[in-house]
Symmetry: none
Amino acid sequence: MQWKLDKDRPICPQLTEIVCVAIANGTLETGQKLMSVREIALQAGVNPNTVQKALENLERLGIIYSVRGSGSFVSDDKSVAKNTLERIISERTAEYFAQMKALGLDSNEIKNYVEEWNENE
Amino acid sequence: MQWKLDKDRPICPQLTEIVCVAIANGTLETGQKLMSVREIALQAGVNPNTVQKALENLERLGIIYSVRGSGSFVSDDKSVAKNTLERIISERTAEYFAQMKALGLDSNEIKNYVEEWNENE
Amino acid sequence: MQWKLDKDRPICPQLTEIVCVAIANGTLETGQKLMSVREIALQAGVNPNTVQKALENLERLGIIYSVRGSGSFVSDDKSVAKNTLERIISERTAEYFAQMKALGLDSNEIKNYVEEWNENE
Amino acid sequence: MQWKLDKDRPICPQLTEIVCVAIANGTLETGQKLMSVREIALQAGVNPNTVQKALENLERLGIIYSVRGSGSFVSDDKSVAKNTLERIISERTAEYFAQMKALGLDSNEIKNYVEEWNENE
DNA sequence: GTGGTCTAGACCACC
DNA sequence: GTGGTCTAGACCACG
């Protein structure tokens, strides 16, 4: 589990997403204990408070649960994480399309642009 | 010329982009006078200071020029606007790909996702 | 609007509740602007971050909305605040009853105890 | 003797209270031996350290006494347990009233609310 | 050692 | 001036 962060975007939601991805793809299993807040903060090179906030988000969503004094654990129901992830992907794509259209491209042009982008990579 | 703003994103760069698009696609022609700061602010429903800052950006980039007491005008060379627009499109697409990959999709999955999105719209 | 805080309980939820009460009882009206984060922090004698967190909670619940650079405002629909308030009252009462029963009192004893308490006040 | 715990509140004081209640209502008699720390921990499903700390509290209050190597026993004077219990009940009720008033209810409304609650149960 | 809460103070973009 | 985000570091109760 690696904490690859994009410094141009808010860190907190990125942490949230990374955990969601890890749960969705099986890197983190049901009931598994996450690293401690402090440990994540150390590995990711960010402030423990930022990590704390991200875990609070995940707990509020029901994706993990925290036990005082013992740590945070992956919730029994992984579907919430998966749904959240899909929702995020969908939202981001919607935003992307909205922005591209605001920049003057129509649906086909966007599709073509994405395909070209894919080839040049 | 309409000022369709996404309230979830910073206003100022959106205004900048809208003018770029208008110039690139011919809605605004070389030498044409833009609406006044106040008028734009009124139509777009935003703070005049924000409009002012957006126009300053455009002038700094050489996309428009301001004549004291008479207003702002589209620069003679529309290529700057076009290049700026392309650069923005490219940057946004790069960001989109980076985010989707962070969310666990590979290049092909992104391409397919975009195509499906296109169809369902 | 006064910020009377019980120092034996977490401050953040107390702030949340105070705003809910103010909205529910009409001290704060629909669309009305709240004091700034910094001002509330000053008046209440707490840290601005704590206030910020409380307002984030309220925004997440749809009770207020924040406009970047201009402040926080009471949401159009005051019913959410009222419902939230009722829910809190109900939850607290449920907790109180559960605790009293764990302490060996039955429903009638609790009722009598509350009535006596009322008289002696 | 059952260890019914509310997971939303600190475990340690709950254990303390349960023993107080058991002594006050006669489930535990003067001089009677309590279960061992390990046994209580097992039955209650909590950490033995937590049980140990709760028993230390009770001993400090004079409600039980420990004999090295043989266990903990109910103190000769049960009145301390009873008084402690009453004090806790009183404190909780005071807290409850304070919170309800902070939530906008006056004494009469609280009384009525409690009575209705009683009926609907 | 753990999470939970709070304080203090900084920086940013936006209005 | 505003809210939004982050850092730094402290204290507490719980396990």
